[in-house]
Every structure is written in structure tokens, then in C-alpha cells.
Amino acid sequence: MHIFEGFLPSPWWQLWFVFSIPVILYGMYKLNKLVSEKREVVPLIAVAGAFIFVLSSLKLPSVTGSCSHPTGTGMAAVLFGPSITAVLGVIVLIYQALFLAHGGISTLGANVASMGIIGPFVAYAFYKAAAKTNMNFYLNIFLATAIADWITYVTTSVQLSLAFPTGGSLTVTGFLSSFIAFATVFATTQVPLAIMEGALTALIMKYVVQVKSDVLVNLDVLTSDAVEKLKGAMS
């Protein structure tokens, strides 16, 4: 999903910054507020950030014959919401852009939009909607994060198709034909990885329930009744 340095022409790289910067600023405000009001969540923020760090560094092979990496942002999105996830995502993306020649500074706005904002937003929205239907918690986490991972790569395909429509000018047919080309690379490769990421996130959330369930109630991720039920199922 990393769009490499210089691979977004004007006005697209600027537009994605315009899209991402307000969300990041809002996320920093929310993060500040959360940390000052609920100090006990700080370690969990570190864990969610570290989870993004680990998963986005793992380049995994896919059935299509190429490698890609999970995003790891689903966990943070479910716990803290998409705007705080955007802040955590920026940290990882800047590290990779500056030291790994992976992604870029000019494309940072677009990469944050896909990995830090749109993917996590989908995870958050899905989780909240499915939680209302009393779906099994782990199944909900699995689906929310797998879909978010996949949507991140679909977003990248959209971003590239807008910037590089077939035929040179941005028309519906030019956009669609480019989208098919980019999505063939990104979206198909990502399917097995998205499933793996969803499963891993569900597992790590199980351990969060096990060791620090009070914070989940505090963050409105789960009700205390739901926590009791999940803990009862474990013992």
C-alpha cells in the first residue's frame, strides 16, 4: 500500500495531505485528551502502536506470487477510534519513509489516508455496527480488521487510479480500467494477508480481555457484562 516517493503527481499528493492533516490534528487532540483523562490506557496505546509496528514490517508472501504486508491498524481502530489510529500510523509511515526508502514524504498524505484513516475508519464502523447485533466478539474483531486491511489496499488502488487514469485524462472509463489494473496487484494479493491479520488481531484481543479487561470497559469497547461472559468462557 505504500505509494513510493514522487509517484503521485500534483494535485493528488497535495489533496491527500489536505484530507489527512485535519484528521491527524484531531487525532493528536483526542490522544492528548485520552491520555490526560485516562492514564491507565497509556500502556494499551503503546501495545496498539507496537502491533502496527510489527505487522507493517512483516512482508508476507501471497498466492499471487508477490509479497505484501498487513497494516496492523485494526486493533488500534477498535480500541481508540480511527483518528488516534491515524496518529499511530503516521509514526510508522514516517519511520519507513525516512529510513527504509519505503513510501515517501510527498506521498505520506496519501499513505496515511489509506493505512491510517480510511482502513481504520471501516474497522471502527464495522465493529460498532456488528457489536450492536451481538456478534461474537472475536468474530467481530476478525471481520473488522480483515476488512480494514483489505480496504486499505483498495484505497491505494483508488488513489493510484485517480492519479493515473488510463488514457491520461480522468474519465470514468479511464479510472475504472486503471482501477482494475491496480486492484489486480493490490486487492487480490492482500486477501490471504487480510485473513491472517484478522485472526492475529482476534487472538491478541483475547489476551487483552484476559489481562486488562477493565480498560476495554473504560474505552467503551465492551460492556462489563460482555467482559464477564468472555472471561467466563475462558475458564
Binding site: 500502556p43 509496528f53 491505494t156 491472517m196
Partner: protein, 97 residues
């Protein structure tokens, strides 16, 4: 069924899809999808030249150094996750006693 078993089965299926991919695409290089997207861009707009925003970034001089930095990234992350889970687990146990 325990969640651990389900995740284990998904992990085995993941390894299986990789081996299937190796067999189905004997000439595949398993390069990054990000790099492949670059080829798609070149195919769509052959004249496009990536521009340089003029911000100095570090380019790993070799694949080994790049994998070192990626491994470091994963190690730092795992360390933080492991530390806090261990800390909470130990704390919960001592509270129960």
C-alpha cells in the same frame, strides 16, 4: 473450539496458500506488491517521471541492511507487546494471591 486452535489452523492455511502460490507461479519472484504497482504506473503512463521533493531520506544500501531495519522494527514492537502483557499478567496474579 479454543481461539488459539482456530488461529493456528488459519496460520497453516496461510502457509499452504504460499506453497500453492510457489507451485502455481514457478517463475514468480515474490517481490513487493508496492513495486509491482510501479510497473502498472509505467504501463499506463510510460512518460511519467517520479519527482523528487528534495527531502533527504536514507536509502538502505543493500537488501541485508533493509531487512535488518525491518527486523529491528518488528523486534521493537514485539518487545513492547511482550513487556506489557507480561507485566499485566504478573500484576493480576499477585493481586489474586
Amino acid at each position: 473450539m479454543k481461539l488459539e486452535y482456530i488461529v493456528g489452523i488459519i496460520a497453516i492455511l496461510f502457509v499452504a496458500q504460499f506453497f500453492y502460490g510457489v507451485l502455481a507461479h514457478p517463475n514468480a519472484e515474490f517481490g513487493g506488491a508496492d513495486g509491482e504497482a510501479e510497473n502498472v504506473i509505467t504501463a499506463i503512463s510510460p512518460d511519467y517521471q517520479p519527482w523528487n521533493p528534495g527531502i533527504p531520506t536514507f536509502e538502505p544500501p543493500s537488501g541485508e541492511i533493509e531487512s535488518l531495519l525491518f527486523a529491528l522494527q518488528a523486534a521493537i514492537g514485539s518487545l513492547i507487546i511482550g513487556y506489557f502483557f507480561g507485566y499485566y499478567r504478573g500484576k493480576n496474579q499477585s493481586v489474586q494471591q
